[in-house]
Symmetry: T
Subunit: 70 residues, 12 copies
């Protein structure tokens, strides 16, 4: 049967620069082991603060990709 | 210890017919590699539209199953 | 005074066929003891899985009806 | 500029048969005046009940389509 | 009567660069046909991925503006 | 076909007196251009404050009405 | 044992005047058959519209009261 | 017909010791008048404070059980 | 730097008359110690019931104001 | 005027033992500087894990108390 | 590149004693195959009831850990 | 006792450039009077629009820091 099945994984990416970078880092890391990535939804954004300065932007993403049957 | 641990995976199934079929397709595909599936909760439903006609029903499901320790 | 008061009850219906059947079963069962049913909102949908096959569709509904004063 | 802009409208479709029919009716009606419909997300589902019998399935959908500049 | 009435429309903007650009594109496009835009709330953010690379940032915005009576 | 289709628009009404007035103002304004209004759900309520005094009550409403095919 | 148990019921009250009246009507009706009512939380507010005029304010309330063991 | 129908009631249990005790008290009280209790979901947890000390843990639970037709 | 920073505090106001009065009481009390109040969003509304009669309307508000650096 | 105004603060308490302890620690710490604490609602619960062992239970609470005018 | 990426898995732990035990069981089981567990957020809590007695506490947790590239 | 207690405050930062700048401004302002800032979660993002152009990005953040007993 040809109906598509997608799987969704949840990752947290970080960046010292921006949430765009943080989310892209998560996608790039996932892309090394998963094929056919499709959409990455942002589900949470925060910042890590140390000595009262923002040191990292973090983006939690839900990433969908084609499910590979074993 | 005998306490049960379950794991939850998130899948998107599709069907040209109905959300029941879409969700069942997701369960059937997961069932080829996972054992002891138990409950599949619907977390999102949508339709894909092409040339102004509904071409697919999609159901996003959270599927729980017995966790297999490695 | 003639202002209408409605009560809301929450039920879970099940069906081997579809969520429409599951929800309708809940309404029909409630209709044997409650009068003037009006609207049934779907608040949750899931599927029961046994031996990796979908065996039941379940719909949780909030059902409103005219409140009968005692 | 070539960046796509989509607009989202919210409709309620009804059907005596199923939520799939109800949602499809909403898409078909919208398709008479809007072009390039793309995705229809279900945001709410309920049933209308009269004389204690389900008389209609209703699906509220958010429908996205290409925005036409005036 | 002088009480203000505002209307809210929902748009999705896209950009290859950032969610700020994506959201601004949605506002700019809306501004060609609507007057007195006021506030644009972000209600959803995601990324489109092709061949495992992020190709677009998308921002869904709710945009309020003064309602023009016909 | 006779199945009803409803459309939903989102408006913000304001009043110096109450949220009932604010919501009614939104309905009355919409009623000048839309036919067959049916239900107005409150989705958000706030107050505008100037020089530390409440100067306006605001109600955001989702208003459903019969969809007119073009 | 002296630990208190409370039960919660969900009602919809209506009034031509205000949501305060609508909610109070729900409480008063419930008070004819239930004892020791305690708190009534508003969970939804809407308005019924007929011939483009607001004809009723409706408040959905969750009402807690001391549970009477049978 | 053999399709199961479940009903859901909402209770608040209290305990000076813990939320586990609070929730169990709600289940035990319900169990005196209802049969075939099945699952109790926690929907809210709080603490009552008097003279700046915690005097009670409270758990609001949604409790499902087999519906008994009259 | 001239970028504005706002702070948000959460208060509960009460009134024997209405939620408008309850919310206004919260704003007025806050206004005695805070400057430049701007917007008060309603986040929860309930009623206190004693001897089965509504004795108070309560409104929980989130109130924003200009942040004063120390 | 005698209408009560309450303020709400948000705290995170921690404990190596339980969420009850974690929440109680938050209340006790707040009680050293705030008077007339009333209710503490749990809004989030998590666990800190180090070297794959749970080292702390954390409870985020919203704590209401009588507002003291300055 | 040294930016950290975390993955999040969702598990359900059970215990006859408490939600703390249930959640800890989920963490301990996950810890046998995953490294660098960090935080476990509680997303749902319920109780299994048999013959009208609570037989198990269940905690659904989202567990984050360092992502291991393949 | 050595158990840590954190407090959470809610701020809105603004910037003409980006939500990263807006959120960082809120953290920097808070850091002048509060010690040991730890994490800043984004809870809302919007844009201010004047004469149909985006003039400011605004980020609402919940900022946690070590609680200082008086």
């Amino acid at each position: 049967m040809t109906e598509s099945i997608y799987k969704i994984v949840e990752l947290v990416g970080t960046s010292p620069e921006s949430w765009e970078e943080a989310a892209k880092n998560a996608v790039n890391t996932a892309g090394k082991t998963l094929k056919d990535l499709r959409i990455a939804e942002i589900v949470q954004m925060d910042m890590k603060v140390e000595e009262n300065r923002v040191v990292a932007y973090r983006a939690r993403v839900k990433l969908s990709f084609k499910f590979q049957e074993g």
